[in-house]
C-alpha cells in the first residue's frame, strides 16, 4: 500500500512542477516523435538543437529551454500538447508542427493565449487566409506554393495532361488545388486516398495507367512516398508515364526509395546544395553532429524558426513581455534564412523562391538531391488577399 501512496505522490509532484520565473527563454516544440513519421520530428529536433548550438544556447543574453512534445500525428493530441505547453510550462514561443490538420486544431489555443506560434512546416490555406493572426508566423510555405511551382515547371516542359493522386487531408487537398491553379493542361483524374492508413495504391495506379494521362502528379510525405514510388516502379508505369512530385522525395525517404527516385523531379524551397554560406555551415555541421544523417527541408525550416525567434528576443533584449515589438521585429524577417532570399507577406507567410530538384549520385556514391533550376522567384501565396490583417 505504501508503494501506491509513493506512486501517487510522485505523480502529484510531476504534475505540479512550478512554472519557473522569466530568466530563461522557454520554447515549446510540437512535432511527431512516435510512429512511422517520427523520423521527420527527429530531423526537426536535430536542426533546432543545432541552431541553438550556433546561437550559443542563448537568446538576448538569456539561456534557452526547449520542451519537445509528441503529437503522435493526431490533431487532438497535438492540441492537448499545445495546451499543456502554454498553460503548464508557460512557454514564450511555440514552434514545430509538421501536419496541417494538427496545426489547425492547435491554432485557436495559441492565438487565444497570445503566444507566438512559429509553424516550421505546416502551411494550410486557412492559415494564410481567413485564419491569419498577428501571433502566427511561418518559416515554411503555404501548402499550395510548392505544387504551384511544379505546375509552372510542367507547363515549361509542355505537359498536356495530368492525373493527380494525394492523401485525403488538409494538406493533400491544398497540394492538388495548388497544382491545378497553375497547370495549364487538362486534369484527367483526381484521386484521394485514406490518410495516413492507406498504403496500397494499386487501385489508383491502375486508374492512372488506364486514364491515358501524359503525366502523374503526387504528394505523399514521409513513408507513404516510399511506398508510392515502389509501387509505381513495380507496376511498370515508370517507363510509360512520367511522375512529378511535391514533398515526396527528401533526404529521409531517399535511402528507402533508392533507385526508384532517380529521374523524378520535385519542387522545393530549400535544397541542401543552395550556395549561401549559412546553408553550407548548416549542412556541414548537421552531418558532423549527427553522423549518418542528412538534413532535410523540415530541418532547414526548423533551423530558420529558431533564428526567427532569436531575432525577436534579441530585439527586446530578452524581455518577452514586449509582444508588439517582437511581432514588429519578426515581420522584418531580420535573420539570414538558409534558403537565401526570404521576406514576409502581410499574412506572415514567406515570399521566397522555389527550385527544381533532381536525384543524383554524389561524390560518396550515395543518392542525394541537387538543385537544377529556379522555377519561380519571390513567390507569394495566393491566399494573402483573404487575410484581414494589415
Amino acid at each position: 500500500m505504501k508503494k501506491a501512496f509513493w506512486l501517487a505522490g510522485a505523480m502529484a509532484m510531476a504534475l505540479a512542477q512550478p512554472a519557473s520565473a522569466g530568466d530563461t527563454i522557454k520554447i515549446g516544440f510540437v512535432s511527431t516523435f512516435s510512429g512511422p513519421t517520427a523520423v521527420i520530428g527527429n530531423d526537426m529536433r536535430n536542426a533546432f538543437e543545432l541552431a541553438l548550438d550556433h546561437l550559443g544556447r542563448k537568446m538576448g543574453g538569456k539561456p534557452v529551454e526547449v520542451i519537445y512534445e509528441d503529437d503522435g500525428q493526431k490533431p487532438d493530441v497535438g492540441k492537448q500538447k499545445t495546451e499543456k505547453l502554454i498553460q503548464s510550462d508557460k512557454v514564450d514561443f511555440i514552434a514545430g508542427y509538421i501536419w496541417s490538420n494538427v496545426l489547425l486544431a492547435s491554432l485557436k489555443t495559441a492565438v487565444d493565449a497570445k503566444t507566438f506560434l512559429i509553424s516550421a512546416n505546416a502551411g494550410p490555406s486557412q492559415l494564410a487566409g481567413e485564419l491569419c493572426s498577428p501571433y502566427v508566423f511561418s518559416t515554411s510555405w503555404q501548402n499550395d506554393q510548392t505544387p504551384q511551382a511544379m505546375g509552372v515547371y510542367m507547363n515549361q516542359k509542355g505537359v498536356k495532361s495530368v492525373f493527380l493522386i494525394g492523401p485525403n487531408y488538409a494538406a493533400g487537398k491544398d497540394m492538388l488545388a495548388g497544382l491545378k491553379s497553375t497547370f495549364k493542361g487538362e486534369v484527367v483524374g483526381e484521386e484521394y486516398t485514406v490518410w495516413p492508413s492507406q498504403l496500397d495504391f494499386s487501385a489508383e495506379l491502375t486508374k492512372a495507367k488506364n486514364s491515358k494521362a501524359e503525366s502523374i502528379f503526387v504528394f505523399y510525405p514521409g513513408a507513404a512516398g516510399v511506398q508510392f514510388l515502389n509501387q509505381y516502379a513495380q507496376a511498370g508505369i515508370k517507363s510509360q508515364i512520367p511522375l512529378y512530385t511535391a514533398f515526396t522525395i527528401d533526404e529521409l525517404s531517399l535511402p528507402l526509395q533508392k533507385d526508384n527516385a532517380i529521374g523524378i523531379p520535385g519542387a522545393q524551397e530549400w535544397v541542401n546544395d543552395l550556395p549561401n554560406p549559412e546553408n553550407k555551415r548548416f549542412v556541414e555541421d548537421y552531418r558532423k553532429k549527427y553522423p549518418g544523417l542528412r538534413p532535410t527541408y523540415y530541418g532547414a525550416q526548423s533551423y530558420d524558426a529558431a533564428q526567427l525567434i532569436n531575432s525577436a528576443v534579441v530585439a527586446v533584449k530578452g524581455d518577452t513581455s514586449k509582444k508588439d515589438e517582437m511581432k514588429a521585429e519578426m515581420e522584418k524577417a531580420n535573420f539570414k534564412s538558409l534558403r537565401g532570399p526570404f521576406k514576409y507577406g502581410k499574412n506572415h507567410i514567406p515570399i521566397q523562391n522555389f527550385y527544381l530538384q533532381d536525384v543524383v549520385k554524389d561524390a560518396d556514391g550515395q543518392l542525394s538531391l541537387k538543385t537544377v533550376a529556379t522555377i519561380v522567384k519571390d513567390d507569394q501565396d495566393r491566399f494573402a488577399d483573404k487575410c484581414p490583417m494589415k
Binding site: 505540479a16 492540441k79 498553460q87
Partner: protein, 315 residues
C-alpha cells in the same frame, strides 16, 4: 450490513473531495494546466462510467463506445458551425442523436452474443468514424474547430475554466447517481439477472433483450453527454476521436478501475490519463511500460484498482 468505513470507501471519498477542491489548488498554485487535465479526465470518467453500466452490470462488451463521444461532439460542432450557439438546443440534440443511434445499433447488435457483439459494435463505430471522415463540409478527416463554446443565456460561462470544470464534475456526479439509481431499481436487477443467467430470466417471463436495449440506450445517451462536454473542452471535434483505439482506451479505463464497481471507472480514468501524462513526460517509450502493465493488471489484478482496495479492506 457491513461497516461503511473501509479502505475502498475512504479512497472514494478522498478522490471525490479532491476533485471538488481541485480548482482551489489550481488557483493557489497558479497551475492552470492541472485544471485542464482534470476537466478532460472527468469527461472521460463520465464516458467510462456509461460504458461500465452496460459492461459491468449488463454484460454487454461494447467495443464502439467512442462513437457516442464523436456523435455528441459533432452535434455541438455542426450546430455551432451553422450558427446555432445555444446549449439549450445543442445539448438536447446531442443527447437525442446519441440515444437514437444507440437505439438503432442496439436493436441490430443485440441479435448477437459474445465476441460477435464486440465486433458488431466495433463495425458500427467504424462506420460512424468513416461517415465523419467523409463530411467535407465539416472538415472531413481534419476535424472541425469550434470557435465558440455552447452558450446558456448567461446562466453559466463555459469559457470560464472553473465554471466549466464544475459543470463537468456535476455531470459526472449526476451520471453516477443516475447509474446507482438504475442498478438498484427493479429494472437494474433484471438487467443484472439477465447477465448472470439469461435463460432463467427469459423463463421467468422477462424479455431479456428489451431490458438490455433500454440499458444500452441509457448508456449511449450518457456517453453522448460526455461527447458534448468533450467538444466544448477541446473546442474541436475530429473523426480521430471515434477511432477504435479510443473505444479500447475507454475499456481499459473501466477495467483498470474495476468493472462493475460504481466509482471504479472514475478511478480508472484518473489512473490511466495521469499515468499516460506522467510517463510521457519521463520517456518517449511510455507504451513499453503501459503495455506490460495492462497485461499484469489483467493477469493478476482482476477487479482492477477497486478490487485491490476491496481486498485490502477485508484484511
Amino acid at each position: 450490513m457491513k461497516s461503511h468505513i473501509n479502505l475502498r470507501n475512504v479512497v472514494v471519498a478522498l478522490v471525490a473531495a479532491g476533485l471538488v477542491l481541485l480548482p482551489l489548488y489550481s488557483q493557489l498554485s497558479g497551475n492552470i494546466f492541472i485544471l485542464t487535465l482534470f476537466t478532460r479526465i472527468i469527461i472521460f470518467a463520465l464516458a467510462a462510467a456509461s460504458l461500465n453500466l452496460i459492461m459491468g452490470y449488463g454484460g454487454m462488451m461494447s467495443f464502439g463506445h467512442a462513437a457516442y463521444l464523436g456523435i455528441g461532439g459533432y452535434a455541438v460542432g455542426i450546430l455551432a458551425h451553422e450558427g446555432i450557439g445555444s446549449g439549450f438546443i445543442q445539448w438536447p440534440v446531442a443527447l437525442a442523436v446519441s440515444a437514437l443511434y444507440a437505439l438503432v445499433i442496439g436493436a441490430l447488435s443485440l441479435r448477437t452474443r459474445g465476441v460477435y457483439f464486440i465486433m458488431i459494435t466495433l463495425a458500427f463505430a467504424q462506420m460512424a468514424y468513416y461517415i465523419a471522415s467523409g463530411m467535407s463540409r465539416y472538415g472531413g478527416d481534419d476535424g472541425l474547430t469550434i470557435y465558440k463554446r455552447s452558450t446558456f443565456g448567461g446562466l453559466i460561462d463555459l469559457s470560464n475554466r472553473v465554471q466549466f470544470y464544475y459543470l463537468c464534475l456535476a455531470c459526472l456526479f449526476g451520471g453516477i447517481y443516475l447509474i446507482w439509481r438504475i442498478i438498484n431499481s427493479r429494472f437494474g436487477m433484471v438487467v443484472q439477472g439477465v447477465r448472470s443467467n439469461e435463460q432463467r430470466m427469459q423463463a421467468i417471463g422477462f424479455h431479456a433483450n428489451r431490458y438490455r436495449l433500454v440499458c444500452f440506450v441509457i448508456s449511449g445517451t450518457i456517453c453522448g453527454l460526455a461527447g458534448a462536454l468533450l467538444a466544448n473542452n477541446t473546442d474541436f471535434v475530429s473523426p480521430a476521436g471515434m477511432y477504435w483505439t479510443r473505444s479500447g482506451e475507454l475499456m481499459v479505463m473501466v477495467v483498470f478501475g474495476g468493472m462493475g464497481s460504481l466509482f471504479g471507472p472514475v478511478i480508472g480514468a484518473i489512473f490511466f490519463l495521469v499515468l499516460e501524462e506522467v510517463l510521457s513526460q519521463f520517456t518517449e517509450y511510455w507504451a513499453l511500460i503501459m503495455g506490460p502493465l495492462l497485461l499484469l493488471v489483467v493477469l493478476f489484478a482482476r477487479g482492477g484498482i477497486m478490487g485491490l482496495l476491496g481486498r485490502f479492506s477485508r484484511v
